[in-house]
C-alpha cells in the first residue's frame, strides 16, 4: 500500500472507496494526453506540459483510500479542485485517467444503467447551494429519490417523514424551499441524501453558505447523525477549523494536487511543507488536538489522573495546573487510549506558541 496509509489508525478497517492516480483536465482536447496505455505518467512533467499547451489540470494524480465508517475531509482553498475531485468520485463528471473503486467495483467502468443503480442505493450527496427542487415541498423533495426508484406514495412518504424527523424539521413538511432559511434548506438536502440509506455519503461544502453560528450548530448535528448512522463520508470544506472538528482524516489540496493526508493532529503537528504550516498556523492546537492524539501505548506507572481520549488538550490544562504530570488516557471513539505525559503536551503547545511568534 502507498505511504499515505502508513500512519493511519484506521488501517484495520475495510477500504470502502479507493481512488488511484485520478486526473481531470479541462481544455480543448484533454483525452489526447491520456490515450497511450502502459507507460507511466510522470505527474509533474505532464501537469507542466498540459498547462503550457493551454489546458487546465484541475485534478492531478489523486490517490487515497476512504475506509468504512470514516469521515474523510478534503480541504483546500477555493479553486484547488475539491469539487472536481468529489464530482469525479460520484461520476457527475468523468475523470480523464485513473481508477475509482467502490467496494471493489470499478466505478469508472460502470454503465449508465449500473451507475443509476449505484446512485439509487449506495451514494448520497449534499450540495453547497442545496440543489432543492423549487416546485416540491420539503416532504416531496425528501421523497424525490424514492419516487425515482418507483416506490409507492405511502411508503416513500413514511420514509421521508422519518428522515425529516432525523434532521429535526418535523412540522415543516408542507413548506416550499423558498419559505425556509438556509440552515433549514440544507437540512432538507441532508434528509434527501439520506433517504435511500446510502453507505457512501458525499458532502460538498454543505455548510459554507450558512452563517457561522448556524454552521457550528449544523456541524454538531452532523457529528450526532454520524454517531447514529456510521456512514462512510467524503466531506469537502475550505474551512480548516471545520475540517479539524469533523475529520477522522484530512486530505489537503492545492492547485489540483493532494499535498498531505493525515489525521488533524498529524497535519497540525507535522505539516508536509511551508504551505500547509502557514495554512494551519491559525488553528488553536489546544482546542483541536485531543488527548488520544498524543497517547502512547507504553504504560506509565506514575500516572495520577485519568482522562477520556477524545478530550481536547485544553481540558487537561487545569489538571496540569493542579500538579498532575502523567495521565492515563481512556479509549474513546476511534482512539485506542494509552498514556501521556504533561511534558509532551506542553511541548506541543509550546510549538504552537513558537509558530505563532514566527508568523506574528
Amino acid at each position: 500500500m502507498p505511504e499515505t496509509d502508513q500512519n493511519s489508525i484506521d488501517r484495520h478497517r475495510n477500504v470502502k472507496l479507493q481512488c488511484r492516480n485520478v486526473w481531470k483536465v479541462y481544455g480543448p482536447r484533454p483525452d489526447y494526453y491520456f490515450d497511450a496505455k502502459g507507460y507511466r505518467i510522470e505527474p509533474e512533467l505532464l501537469a507542466a506540459r498540459l498547462t503550457a499547451e493551454g489546458h487546465l489540470p484541475a485534478l492531478i494524480d489523486a490517490s487515497f483510500d476512504v475506509h468504512e465508517g470514516e469521515i474523510f475531509v478534503i480541504m483546500g482553498l477555493s479553486g484547488s479542485g475539491k469539487s472536481t475531485l468529489v464530482r469525479c468520485l460520484s461520476r457527475l463528471i468523468d475523470a480523464n485517467h485513473g481508477t475509482i473503486q467502490l467496494d471493489g467495483q470499478d466505478l469508472l467502468a460502470a454503465t449508465p444503467r449500473e451507475l443509476i443503480e449505484i446512485r439509487r442505493h449506495k451514494m448520497g450527496m449534499v450540495f453547497q447551494s442545496f440543489g432543492l427542487l423549487p416546485h416540491l415541498t420539503v416532504l416531496e423533495n425528501t421523497a424525490f429519490p424514492l419516487k425515482l426508484q418507483g416506490m409507492g406514495l405511502a411508503e416513500r412518504e413514511a420514509r421521508a417523514r422519518e428522515m425529516i424527523r432525523l434532521v429535526g424539521l418535523d412540522g415543516r413538511e408542507a413548506s416550499y424551499p423558498s419559505q425556509l432559511s438556509g440552515g433549514q434548506q440544507q437540512r432538507v438536502g441532508i434528509a434527501r441524501s439520506l433517504a435511500v440509506g446510502p453507505d457512501l455519503w458525499f458532502l460538498d461544502e454543505p455548510f459554507s453558505a450558512l452563517d457561522p453560528l448556524i454552521r457550528r450548530q449544523m456541524q454538531d448535528e452532523f457529528l450526532r447523525l454520524q454517531d447514529q448512522l456510521k456512514k462512510t463520508i467524503v466531506f469537502i470544506t475550505h474551512d480548516i477549523m471545520e475540517a479539524c472538528r469533523l475529520a477522522d482524516r484530512i486530505a489537503l489540496m492545492r492547485n489540483g494536487r493532494i499535498i498531505q493526508i493525515g489525521t488533524p493532529a498529524e497535519i497540525l503537528l507535522s505539516p508536509a511543507d511551508e504551505y500547509v504550516a502557514e495554512f494551519t498556523a491559525e488553528v488553536a492546537l489546544a482546542r483541536v488536538i485531543r488527548a488520544g492524539d498524543l497517547a502512547v501505548a507504553a504504560p506509565m506507572s506514575e500516572a495520577t489522573a485519568e482522562i477520556s481520549a477524545d478530550q481536547p488538550l485544553e481540558a487537561l490544562m487545569s489538571k496540569i495546573g493542579a500538579g498532575h504530570r502523567h495521565f492515563r488516557v481512556l479509549p474513546a471513539g476511534r482512539y485506542p487510549g494509552g498514556y501521556v505525559a504533561a511534558d509532551r503536551i506542553l511541548a506541543v503547545l509550546g510549538h504552537e506558541a513558537a509558530t505563532l511568534a514566527e508568523v506574528g
Binding site: M125, F130, L133
Partner: protein, 666 residues
C-alpha cells in the same frame, strides 16, 4: 491595410465623385430597369408546380383544421356571454387578484356594449386553436436544441428569420396551399407564435441551476426522469412566460391575417372600418383588440409569475368554474334563442362617436394638416429627395443658386475640418450626412450605398456578415426593388432617429424623475401589449392616408424601446459609482453626462437596436396606409397572390432586419 478612418474617408470621396458624376450618368442615381433579373418570375415558375402537388394535402389539412375550429367557435357562440365573461373574471381572479378581475369586468362590459362580442369570440377561437400546436412544437424544438446543443445555432437562426420575415410574405404560400378561409390564418398564427416558445424553452432549461440537475442525477434519475421530473418543473415559470408570449404573438398575427378576410373576426372589423373611413367603428374595434390583448397578457403573465399568491384557491376556482358552465348551459337550454346582447347600443355608440370624432377631426383638421404639411415639406421631402430636389420653385418656392450650394458645401466641409482633430469619426459622419442631405436618401447613388454597406459589414461582422449583406443587396438590386428599398431605408431611418430623440428624451426624464417614470410605465406597458395593427388607427384618423401617417404609426410602435432602455440603463448605473462621483463634487448634469450616460451606453445601444427591429417589422403593416416601400411590395404581392414577388420582397426585409441587428450588436 488602411486604417478604418482612412478607409471611410476614401469611401466618402468615392461617394462624392459618384454624386458629382450622376447628372451625366443617370444610371447612377436610379438602378436601370433593364439590368434587373426576373427573380420573382423564376421563383414562380419553379415553386408553383411544387405547390400544385402540395395543394391536395394542404387543402385536406385545412379542412381538418377547420373542423375543430368550427366546433370551438360554435361552443363560444352557443354559451351565453355572461357565463363566458364570468369564467374570464374567475381566471383573472385566480391569476392575479381583484384589480385584474375589475379590469376584466370593465373590458368585457365594453366589448359587449360596443357590440363586438361575437367578433371577439371568433378571434379568441383562432388564438386558442393556434395555442396548443404552437406551444407543443415550440417546446419540442426548444427541448431538442437543449438536448443537442449543436443544433442550437441553426435553430436560433431559423427563429430569427421566422420572426423577421413579414407576416404577409408567408401568408402568400399559405394562401396558395390552404386556400381562403381560417386555415391559413391559423397556420400563420402558429408559425409566428412558435419562436417565442422555443426561445423561452431553451432559456428556461438552460437556467435550471446546475446543482438541481446534479442533485437529481445523484438521486439516480434516468435521463427521462431528469428531464420531466427535475428540469421541466424547475423551468416552469420561464415556460409559462413562453406561453404568454406565444399567446400575444398569435393574437397579433391573427389580427393581421384578417386582411385576407372571410372570417367575421375583430381584425376584419377594424380593417373594413378603416377602409370605409368610419372612424368611430375603427376606434371602437381597435379598443376591443386592446382590451383583449391586455386581458390575455395579464392573465397568462399572472399564471407565469413564480411567487404568485392567489386569493382564489384551486378548489373554489373549480366549483365556481363548474357553476358558470352549468348555469350557462342550463340558460341556453331553457332560452335557446336569446343572445343577451344589446344590439342597438353598440351601433348607436359607434355612430355617435363617429360624429363626435368627425367634428373633432374637422375642427382640428387645419392644425393637423398644417403639422403634416409642415413636416412633410420641411423634413420628409428634403430627406427623401434631398435639398437639391426640394429647393425648387414648385416645392420651396425658390431656385437653388450656385452660391447656396457652395455655402452648403463650405459649412459641412468646414465643420468636418474643425472636428477632424478631436473626433475624426464624427467629422466623417458629418461629411456623409451632408452629402446624403444634399442628394436625399432615395437619390443617393446606389453604388455608394452598396460600397458603404459592404465595408461596414466586413468591418464589424467579417466574411459571414459580408456574404449575408451581398446576398441581401443582390436580391434587392437585381430583383428590381431598389426604389422600394430606398423608400424603406428612408422611412426606417427617419422613424428611428425621431424615436431615439423623442423616446430617449422621455426615458431620460423618467430616469431622473420618479413621477414621470410612474406616468410613463403604464403607457409603455399598454403600447407594448397592443397588436401592431392598432397603431394605424389614430394615425389614420388624424392624418389620413399617406406616408406621414405611416411614419406616425411606425413611431408609435417603435418608440417604446428607447424609452425603456434609456431609463433602465440610467437607473441601473451602479450606485457606488454615482456616490463616488457625487463625492467628487459632480453637479447633477455632470453626473448625467459624464458618468451615467457613458456607463449606460451598452444598454442604450441595445435599445436603439430594438428600435430598428421594431421599425422594420412595422414597415409592412404601415404599408396598409400607403407607402411606396418594400412593405408595399409585399402587400401588392399578397393582393395578386404573387408568390415570387412576395418572397423576394419579404426576404429582403427579413435580411435587412437581421443585418441591421448584427451590424449594431457589437
Amino acid at each position: 491595410m488602411a486604417s478604418p478612418l482612412f478607409r471611410w474617408l476614401l469611401l466618402f470621396l468615392f461617394c462624392l465623385a459618384l454624386v458629382l458624376a450622376s447628372p451625366f450618368l443617370p444610371w447612377l442615381a436610379a438602378f436601370p430597369q433593364g439590368w434587373t433579373l426576373p427573380l420573382a418570375d423564376v421563383l414562380n415558375t419553379w415553386a408553383l408546380p411544387v405547390f400544385d402537388i402540395l395543394q391536395g394535402p394542404g387543402r385536406a389539412l385545412a379542412a381538418g383544421l377547420d373542423l375543430p375550429l368550427r366546433g370551438l367557435r360554435a361552443a363560444l357562440e352557443w354559451l351565453p356571454w355572461p357565463a363566458l365573461a364570468g369564467i374570464v373574471v374567475l381566471l383573472a381572479l385566480r391569476a392575479s387578484g381583484w384589480q385584474l378581475a375589475v379590469v376584466a369586468i370593465i373590458a368585457q362590459a365594453g366589448i359587449v356594449a360596443g357590440g363586438y362580442w361575437p367578433q371577439a369570440m371568433n378571434t379568441l377561437a383562432i388564438v386558442l386553436m393556434s395555442l396548443p400546436p404552437a406551444v407543443l412544437i415550440g417546446f419540442a424544438l426548444g427541448a431538442a436544441a437543449h438536448r443537442w446543443p449543436r443544433i442550437e445555432p441553426a435553430t436560433v437562426a431559423a427563429l430569427d428569420v421566422m420572426q423577421t420575415l413579414p407576416a404577409f410574405a408567408y401568408l402568400i404560400p399559405l394562401l396558395i396551399l390552404f386556400g381562403f378561409g381560417p386555415a391559413p390564418g391559423l397556420v400563420a398564427g402558429v408559425v409566428f407564435a412558435v419562436p417565442p416558445m422555443v426561445r423561452n424553452t431553451i432559456l428556461g432549461l438552460a437556467r435550471v441551476p446546475a446543482e438541481v440537475v446534479e442533485a437529481a442525477q445523484m438521486c439516480g434519475a434516468t435521463s427521462g426522469q431528469l428531464f420531466w421530473l427535475a428540469k421541466v418543473p424547475a423551468a416552469r415559470s420561464q415556460l409559462l412566460v413562453g406561453v404568454n408570449q406565444t399567446v400575444m404573438a398569435s393574437l397579433s398575427m391573427v389580427i393581421i391575417v384578417a386582411v385576407i378576410g372571410g372570417f367575421n373576426d375583430i381584425g376584419w372589423e377594424v380593417l373594413s372600418a378603416m377602409r370605409g373611413a368610419e372612424l368611430g367603428r375603427s376606434l371602437m374595434s381597435g379598443l376591443v383588440i386592446v382590451a383583449m390583448a391586455i386581458l390575455l397578457d395579464r392573465i397568462t403573465l399572472g399564471f407565469a409569475s413564480p411567487g404568485r399568491t392567489t386569493i382564489l384557491g384551486q378548489k373554489k376556482f373549480r366549483i365556481a368554474f363548474g357553476a358558470f358552465v352549468i348555469a350557462g348551459v342550463v340558460t341556453r337550454l331553457i332560452l335557446p334563442e336569446v343572445t343577451f346582447l344589446p344590439d342597438a347600443l353598440g351601433r348607436n355608440l359607434a355612430r355617435s362617436i363617429d360624429a363626435t370624432l368627425m367634428d373633432f377631426v374637422v375642427a382640428t383638421g387645419p392644425f393637423f394638416a398644417a403639422l403634416r404639411d409642415g413636416l412633410n415639406y420641411g423634413l420628409m421631402l428634403p430627406l427623401r429627395i434631398g435639398l437639391l430636389g426640394a429647393a425648387t420653385p414648385t416645392v420651396w418656392g425658390f431656385t437653388l443658386m450656385p452660391w447656396m450650394i457652395a455655402a452648403y458645401a463650405i459649412v459641412f466641409a468646414g465643420g468636418a475640418f474643425i472636428l477632424w482633430r478631436r473626433t475624426p469619426t464624427l467629422a466623417i459622419a458629418i461629411l456623409f450626412v451632408g452629402l446624403a442631405l444634399a442628394t436625399g436618401i432615395t437619390r443617393f447613388p446606389w453604388p455608394g450605398v452598396v460600397a458603404m454597406a459592404l465595408v461596414a459589414a466586413w468591418a464589424s461582422g467579417g466574411p459571414r456578415l459580408f456574404a449575408m449583406t451581398s446576398g441581401a443587396l443582390g436580391l434587392i438590386i437585381f430583383g428590381g426593388l431598389w426604389a422600394a428599398f430606398t423608400q424603406s431605408a428612408y422611412l426606417t431611418a427617419l422613424a428611428v432617429v425621431l424615436c431615439v430623440l423623442i423616446g430617449g428624451a422621455l426615458g431620460l426624464l423618467a430616469a431622473e424623475n420618479d413621477r414621470a417614470s410612474a406616468i410613463l410605465r403604464p403607457i409603455n406597458d399598454a403600447l407594448q401589449t397592443m397588436p401592431q395593427f392598432v397603431f394605424l388607427i389614430p394615425a389614420l384618423m388624424l392624418f389620413r392616408v399617406g406616408e406621414f401617417t405611416a411614419l406616425i404609426a411606425i413611431m408609435l410602435y417603435a418608440i417604446v424601446p428607447p424609452m425603456r432602455y434609456v431609463e433602465h440603463g440610467l437607473r441601473n448605473v451602479s450606485p457606488a459609482l454615482v456616490e463616488a462621483a457625487v463625492q467628487m463634487g459632480a453637479t447633477r448634469s455632470q453626473l448625467l453626462w459624464q458618468v451615467k450616460l457613458p456607463l449606460a451606453r451598452p444598454v442604450i445601444r441595445l435599445g436603439i437596436n430594438q428600435t430598428i427591429m421594431a421599425a422594420i417589422s412595422m414597415l409592412v403593416i404601415a404599408a396598409l396606409v400607403g407607402t411606396r416601400d418594400l412593405g408595399q411590395q409585399v402587400f401588392i404581392a399578397l393582393g395578386k397572390a404573387d408568390l415570387g414577388l412576395g418572397l423576394v420582397a419579404g426576404f429582403a426585409i427579413a435580411l435587412l432586419a437581421l443585418i441591421a441587428d448584427r451590424l449594431l450588436r457589437d
